[in-house]
Each structure stands twice: as structure tokens, then as C-alpha cells.
Symmetry: C2
Subunit: 440 residues, 2 copies
């Protein structure tokens, strides 16, 4: 539950000016990411569901109107206007899980100017964060195919919504689940977890802790073995298994994970327990996962936390939501380094004979090309056109998209840039707009 | 509003084991940051208020119990136990705005083991995030003394709680306000904002946009001048001012801010408007602010957004919440690189004759030293000992603490490490604990 006041003050001061000037004609805004972080070859669109939910519920409550009235910035007539404010516009967007590239709109809003303006802050806030995390998670999935990946990031996430939405975004991009119980409840994501070091430390000895835990969770026995001495703890696990206690896995959270996993695997195998799996956690990210995979380190699953949930190597995107058209006329910003392509746009994707992405073409909305159009209608007149997409469908779409990425773009390092062409129609529109604005 | 399920599943599986084993004796946990990010000489404690609020309201609702019951992890008896679960423990903490150093506990929880355990995830989540942002904001304040600093970060914050709490954390660390309207309402933080590029672009020409805006906001006229051509826009601003329209400031959001500010300042001064201020935004952080200050760039205020709200150069802290004592016995984790000092602890700070920080001493709680003790009682038996501290008081405390930092630690670069001594009493306790655990 958020509030219509979760926005920048300038949205509301602009709204008051539009109200005063009676500027309520149709505006078109598009949300896109300009330059990508240098650590990203591609991004995965996510967060649309929460964006649409926000638009459907947007309204100013009494407390909010009262605060604005006494803030000193607004006239009484404008506050009255806000009381009936609703979003009644149209939204076209890339379905969640779609891979996209620089300057491609992932969402387009067509609505009376004040409505299309007000929603900027929260729409960026919702879509950029989930896109950030889905993209980082997709890299982990590419780096560790076939491994179990679990989001462990809640504690280091930036507040509760970040923890919740990071679980959703990483799941849709290929993770198997999360430790976040609330995300499990809200989004029907599988949840995972067993014990922390404190559980071991609260017992007078480690073997007792293992034994007691196994009694209370007979079908979910994953034992944390690095509190004191990992190899000695592995021996205690084996002793327990020999008593007939069913142990699903051990978890290692510190030390040299590669050496420890090798040594523990050897011990477990020699003792006749090849079915006990090894799960690792602690400071992991896609680069570390790839290292383990390259060396065939015997680790079956990974808990990826902080670096996923903060997208630590690229903690933000150069996301923008810009006016492209107002009252039927294309608009364009030409600030240095922040120039935009004017008008309502569509993105067409082309595939090669193997189904791999070949190139994208950015063009005007009316210019029908023979590629696959990526922006789809999702909201008309403030109402969704379809119920929320199940996460399972988004997850499948994302996996298929990752499968269709050219090999060079799958690399964790920047190896190639993907061609996004500007169509002749769009280039013409930009030139016309510049002439009209007296810019060239 | 959050939920008791905003936690890691392992907290609940451990709780079930504690319930089953009847392990309900008193546990002591401490929250601290191990190694600091290499970009930080010091950190500013923040988030305690939200932590205490969470503890006071912690309870499992019907929907939550139902979800847990059908999750397959828990027994009916344990779910019943959760229905009456409340936090009834004690909390000692550093007041918000206190500067602290590696391995110093900023919060200590003393409570029955299950209670002290469950709260780990959300306590870290709340305190580490605000501490992260307050620390980044304090660096901005140190870099730009006397300048107006405004948080512009909401859109790139990681979700809504991050945006809200970043406004609070940056304000308490020295910012003058935020663009975030909801933060203004919830925390009584001054709010700032006027117009975006889209406002200019929606008008057929820039001068009309400036004039219309000034009419609707006569006491808050800050004009954004970089949409098309910053210097030409400055001329339009001057023409308007010559008509007698009162203009508070201009904002520049792109381009070479230093050159543009110099040129615009010259124009405004020559036209006889030295009182019109220059405000800058766009990709700012403490390093850029310091550069402007070093060069005496004529910019009066700064909107600091993305890099503040994501703490982009250090987007997480190595924060931990560890069991230090259970059932009267000190406990200690010795995992490689994650070793902790056992037992209940206190931090004493010593000052030199000028009132500057000299050193801190980490010792056992009972070892009374003559420095200033930093951990103070804030909650007993699950109830706060005092009403929430006003942000103004926290802000004053933080400013005083920043003033007392030795010069070398105020530097944006790492220049010196601050001495945190381990007292003989604590060293003895650690050795005894190791002997008891058979570790040495």
C-alpha cells in the first residue's frame, strides 16, 4: 500500500500549472533506459504488474489532500481537482520477461497531460528496480545453468518493498525461489530456508544442534556446517546420516567455498551419501557462480543475497520517462547527452533462421514493419485489458528470451553490442520536429 | 505497514526448533558492521526509530498463520504459539545520528531466544539501509558546507520504502529537504520542487512555459533552463525578471554544470539580478560537490538523487546481527573472516582536549570505563522508554558528531583508520569462550 504522495513535489506543482492553464490534451510519455551500465549486455523488463496496479488504484485520500492544502504550494481549487483525480489513460508495454536494449521504450502512456505526468516518479521507481534485479538474476541464471538458485537478499535489500520485489524479479528471471516468506505468500514463489549460525551457537555443541533440528524438520534437513570447523562438522553430519536420519543437504557460508565443497563432497561420497547435496552461500554473484561452474565445483545450489538484491555492480539504471507528444505534436528534449527520439514509437524485433535475436528496429507507431512488435496494449481507459499474468508464464517467457540471445550477448562481460536501428520514418520525424522547434 | 512474514524462512524454522526444544532462555544479539566499504571512513547510525516501531507492532495475523500452516514446514502447535508471539525484550542502542566504526555494536537485543532470533532480518533491513544513506548524505554535507542539499532520489530508489527512508536518513545527516512529498508528510521534512523538462516541452515555446509557471507559483519560481539551450533560456529568465516577476532560482540539470553555472551567473549579475540563485542537479554525488566547492563554482544548491538514494559507490554494508550470549554463557562464531567478539558489549568513546574523537574502546557491558558510553537503553520489556526522538534533535546530534570528527576522517578518501581498542576484559572473555567451546 502506497500513497499518491509517493511522488516528487514538482509533479504536483506542474499539475497545478496544467490545471491553471487548462492544459489537458493528450500526452504521450515513454519509459526507456538510455545508456546501459557497462556491466550489462541486455536488460529484462519487469515490474509492469506493479505499475498497472498502481495506476488502477491511484487516488488522493483525505489526509493527503489536507497535507497538500497546508503545505503552502497549492490553491484550494487545485486540491478540489485532486480529490477526483484518477488515471483514465492507455498503456502499451513490453510483457514482463522481455529482453530489451538501450533507448527502446518498454512502456508507453497515452493520457491527458496531468495524468501522464503525475505517474512518472512511481512508474520509474517500480519498473527500474524490478528490471534491475531481473537483469542481474538473469545473468546468474546464465552463469549457472541447471543449478538451484535461491534469493537470500532480504536483509540487505533497500527496505521492505525492495526485498519483496527482488524476490519476484529474480524468480521471474530464472531463480528457483526465495528465503523471503512474505514474497512466498504474496507471489506464490517457492520458499527455502533452514538454520543460521545462531541456531548452532545457541546449543552447547554442534552435533546436538544438528540432531535436534533434524527432529523438528524431518523432510527439510539442511545443516549449516561452517560455524566452527566445516570438515569436522561434515563428519558429524555423516555420523547422523549413518543413524538413518535423512539429510537433504549441507550448507557452507564462509571460507574457501571451492576447496571446502570439494573436501565435503569427497567425505560424503566416501561415506556412502552421494545423495546429500551441497548448498553454498556468502558473497555470491554471477561472476563467482561462473567460476564454480567453469571449475566443476561440486555445489548443487546457491543462495545469492546482497549482490543480487542491490544489483551491487550496477545499482541503478539510466531510466527515463519522457514526453514524446503533446496535443498531437511530437516533442523532443535536446539537452546534451539526454536527447530523445520524438513521437509515439514501436520496437520491432527480428530473428535469424535459428530463432536468435538478429536486430531491433525503433520506429514510429504507425510505421508497420514485418518484425515482431514488442509493445503490446495492456491498459485502455485506465482499465487493464487482461488479468495479471501468472509469474509462471512470465518465467517461461524470460527463459525463452534468454535462450534466443546470441551467444556473445550471454557473456558476463561486454563482448558485442546489439544492433538497434532507427527506421527512416523515425529519423524523418526527428528532423521535422527539430525544424518545428527551430532547433536545426 | 509490513508483516511478520517479512523475514527469512530460516528464522521461522529455527523458531519451530526452539519451540520444540523449549529453548526460551535469554539471548543477547548485537547488530554491527564488520568491515566498512573501502569508500567509507565512518558510518552514521540511523533507522533505530523504524526498528523500534517494528518491534512494538510485531505480531502474526490470521492470513499469515494460515499461509504458514499450509506451507508444509510447520506443525499446528507451533502455529498456535505464533498467534500469541510478541516482542517483550530489551533494546540498547546508539542514538540515531551517532558516528560509529567497524565491529562496534550499534544495537543490542536482550530477549527470550526465539524473539531475539526472529527479528534479525527486518532489523538489519531497516538499520543497514538508513545507516547506508545517512552515511552517504553526511559525506555530501561535509563536501558542500553551507550549500542547500535536496534529496531527489525517489524515482531511482529501490522501491517505495527505500525512497521514503532515504529522505529521512539524508535529512537527519544534514540535507535540507527532499522532493518526496510523502516523506514530507510522514516525517515533517521540508519539501522542494518546481518543474521538469516535460513541462517546458509541453508548451510551444520555453518563454511561455516560464511565464505561465510563474503565474501559478509566484512565491516558488525556480525555472529549469536546460531543455533546449541553457544560455538562451537564461536570457528569457532575465527578460521575465525585468518585467518585475520575482524569480527565486534557475535549475541546470545537464551539460557542463561548471561552465554553465559560471556563464549563467555572469548573465544574471550583469543584468542586475544577483539574488536569483543557481541550483544544479543531474548525476551528482559527494565527489562532484567537492569539485564544485574546490573551484568556487557559483552554484547555491544541489539536488542529489540516484547516487545518494542507492549509495551507488557502496550499495550495501557488511552488517551482521549475531548471537553473543545464550542462557548466561557468551557465544562466539569463528567462521573464517566472520569471527565475532563474544558477550554483551559496550562502546566507550574518548575525546581530545578540543572535543574531537580520540579513540573508542570496545569492552564487556559490565566493565565500566571513563569514556562516554555509546549504547543507551531505549526499550525495556518490549516498550519504548521514551517517545520517538524528533528528527530535528537527531539532525543536531549528527551535525555535532560530524564536527567532532578528526580532519583526516572527514576526507572523502580513506586517509586514516580510527582506533577501536579491545579492552583487556573483552580479550579475556574471548579467550575464556574459546576454551569453553574447545576452540583453542
Amino acid at each position: 500500500m502506497t500513497s499518491a504522495l509517493l511522488t516528487d513535489l514538482y509533479q504536483l506543482t506542474m499539475l497545478q500549472a496544467y490545471w491553471y492553464e487548462r492544459m489537458e490534451e493528450t500526452a504521450v510519455f515513454e519509459l526507456f533506459v538510455r545508456q546501459f551500465p557497462k556491466e550489462r549486455n541486455f536488460l529484462v523488463a519487469a515490474g509492469l504488474e506493479q505499475g498497472l496496479e498502481y495506476l488502477e488504484n491511484l487516488a488522493f485520500g483525505d489526509e493527503e489532500c489536507q497535507f497538500l492544502a497546508q503545505s503552502g504550494f497549492f490553491e484550494p481549487g487545485f486540491i478540489e481537482y485532486l480529490k477526483n483525480f484518477r488515471f483514465t489513460g492507455d498503456v502499451d508495454a513490453m510483457p514482463e520477461g522481455t529482453i530489451f536494449f538501450p533507448n527502446e521504450p518498454i512502456l508507453r502512456v497515452t493520457a491527458p497531460l496531468p495524468q501522464a505526468q503525475l505517474i512518472e516518479t512511481r512508474l520509474i521507481n517500480l519498473l527500474q528496480f524490478q528490471t534491475l534485479i531481473a537483469s542481474k538474476a538473469a545473468r546468474c541464471a546464465l552463469a549457472a545453468p541447471g543449478k538451484m538458485l535461491v534469493d537470500f537478499g532480504l536483509r540487505r535489500a533497500h527496505g521492505f518493498e525492495a526485498g519483496l520485489l527482488a524476490a519476484r524479479a529474480s524468480y521471474l528471471a530464472g531463480f528457483n525461489g526465495t528465503s523471503n516468506v512474505l514474497a512466498g505468500m504474496r507471489f506464490e514463489i517457492p520458499i527455502f530456508g533452514t538454520m543460521a549460525h545462531s541456531y548452532i551457537m545457541a546449543h552447547d555443541d554442534e552435533a546436538t544442534a544438528f540432531r535436534e533440528f533434524a527432529k523438528t524438520q524431518p523432510s527439510n534437513v539442511v545443516l549449516l556446517i561452517d560455524t566452527y570447523d566445516t570438515l569436522k562438522a561434515a563428519d558429524k553430519v555423516i555420523a547422523l546420516a549413518k543413524e538413518g536420519i535423512k539429510i537433504k543437504a549441507v550448507r557452507i557460508d564462509s571460507g574457501n567455498l571451492e576447496e571446502l565443497a570439494l573436501a565435503v563432497r569427497r567425505k560424503l561420497d566416501q561415506a556412502g551419501f552421494p545423495e546429500i547435496k551441497i548448498f553454498a552461500s556468502g558473497d555470491l554473484d554471477e561472476y563467482v557462480l561462473q567460476h564454480f561452474l567453469d571449475r566443476s565445483t561440486p555445489i548443487d545450489g546457491f543462495g545469492v543475497g546482497t549482490k543480487l538484491t542491490t544489483s551491487s555492480d550496477a545499482p541503478y539504471l539510466n531510466s527515463a520517462y519522457k514526453l514524446q507528444e503533446y496535443a498531437g505534436l511530437p516533442r523532443r528534449k535536446v539537452s546534451p547527452g539526454k536527447q530523445t527520439w520524438p513521437g509515439r514509437k514501436q520496437v520491432y524485433r527480428y530473428h535469424d533462421q535459428n530463432g536468435l535475436f538478429l536486430k531491433d528496429v525503433l520506429t514510429t507507431q504507425g510505421d508497420l514493419l514485418d518484425g515482431t512488435p514488442l509493445l503490446q496494449p495492456v491498459m485502455r481507459g485506465g482499465k487493464r485489458l487482461a488479468p495479471p499474468e501468472p509469474l509462471s508464464i512470465i518465467r517461461t517467457r524470460c527463459a525463452a528470451q534468454l535462450n534466443s540471445l546470441p551467444e556473445a550477448l550471454k557473456s558476463l562481460n561486454i563482448t558485442a553490442s546489439y544492433p538497434v536501428e532507427i527506421s527512416p520514418a523515425l529519423a524523418r520525424l526527428a528532423a521535422e520536429t527539430d525544424r518545428r522547434l527551430g532547433l536545426k
